[in-house]
Point group: C2
């Protein structure tokens, strides 16, 4: 038995998200079908985490077990020739049998992209959200600093996605600006449902001056979704890296 | 009468090119329709140059004359609210009445993007061509140097697009590499039909070792399309800048 670890890049625009869904095509299913085509086995592909409908990945990590003896390089080439053009396996390796892409993940890094101008750039329209308000990056950076560390992030969790504990640790959060584009990088040991998009929406409210920088402390304490900013669109979110 | 100069950004994937065509929707027509919606005038929009079906632009320049007294900023906003999401007016200004976006252009800068790996990146698949051959950037740079200056580029002109003179001046040509991506920047006083894509295809043949660097000299002298490399796909080409 081999345990195969894949690094996967995808444009999530057309999909119902990573995980198999009742409605719509899931990225996980598409890749499992491709694996079946190559190995003749119906495998369970374990992803490091779910990405929502419309969310992208530069490097999602997933693993599956197989009895196939096909060389790694050939598996990758065969998968890519079967996968649609919006999904690609960029790297393949053999992992220890105990490796589990979800359970072994120490942290995940997401990037949220905002175009801050009065038009949306046609060349990145599927990969960025927009904000027409002039955003103050300095305020956004200060506010983001208050989110670092171990907190109860219930105020940033979608109300329909409540998990046992909403305590997570944000290991790092960085905001970069390049021309009209603003990038929010969030690395955490885990993300609650919609947490990254709700943090982005809250930082936008700070950047446009609707929320004060210090309001972040109050929002965390309130443990209530209604206290934080709006959920930003899925298309601005991209999974960048998983650390093990 | 005012002469309005527009800077236009577009994803050319869905279009039959810049110029009005019998078959398919042209970018020029879409923008003219939007202008009519805003000014109530049927204007002639003059572009700096045609881009082919599937070719993109970061900054196409175009101008039109209007009797409208609507402030510039409002025209731009109104155009963007009417244009589809794959076309945007990024800048607007009033030009001298004699300004003609096509005739006054001194040079145009195009970028050709090649992904040099054994898979195509799903996130840029509409904006890059691929080459599975390992390309030697050093050879490509040497070959590109031989194209600089004033030459008869007939060997790089599509056979069905012959113009009176095929003499053009390449002011600069640069090749950059960033990870798996190779960017060929070509600035010329004018481009023959398919010239940028045929130059890119020829440089790829040099990069993979099928053509020698010195063969560029012979190709130029032959003045025959069959002597140069293949026409690279439209999607890798993007108009970057027009100089006046």
């Amino acid at each position: 038995m081999r345990n195969i670890k894949l690094t996967i890049r995808y444009d999530g625009t057309r999909y119902a998200g990573w995980q198999s869904q009742k409605n719509g095509r899931a990225i996980q299913d598409v890749i499992q079908d491709a694996i079946k085509g190559v190995t003749r086995e119906r495998v369970a592909l374990i992803g490091s985490g779910r990405t929502d409908a419309g969310v992208h990945a530069e490097a999602q990590i997933a693993n599956f077990r197989t009895k196939s003896k096909i060389p790694l390089k050939n598996i990758r080439m065969a998968l890519n020739s079967r996968l649609p053009r919006d999904i690609a396996v960029t790297h393949i390796e053999e992992a220890a049998l105990k490796f589990n892409a979800q359970k072994c993940a120490k942290s995940k890094l997401y990037r949220y992209t905002i175009m801050n101008n009065d038009y949306m750039d046609p060349l990145v329209r599927h990969f960025a959200a927009k904000s027409f308000y002039k955003l103050n990056i300095g305020s956004m950076r200060k506010a983001s600093g208050l989110l670092k560390g171990r907190h109860d992030f219930r105020s940033f969790q979608a109300t329909d996605g409540e998990e046992k504990s909403s305590v997570r640790t944000i290991k790092d959060i960085k905001i970069e600006k390049d021309g009209d584009m603003i990038y929010i990088y969030i690395e955490a040991n885990g993300f609650l449902y919609n947490m990254a998009r709700n943090i982005a929406g809250t930082l936008v409210e700070v950047g446009r001056g609707k929320f004060k920088v210090s309001s972040i402390k109050e929002i965390l304490l309130k443990r209530n979704r209604r206290s934080s900013g709006p959920t930003m669109p899925a298309k601005g979110l991209c999974m960048i890296k998983v650390r093990y």
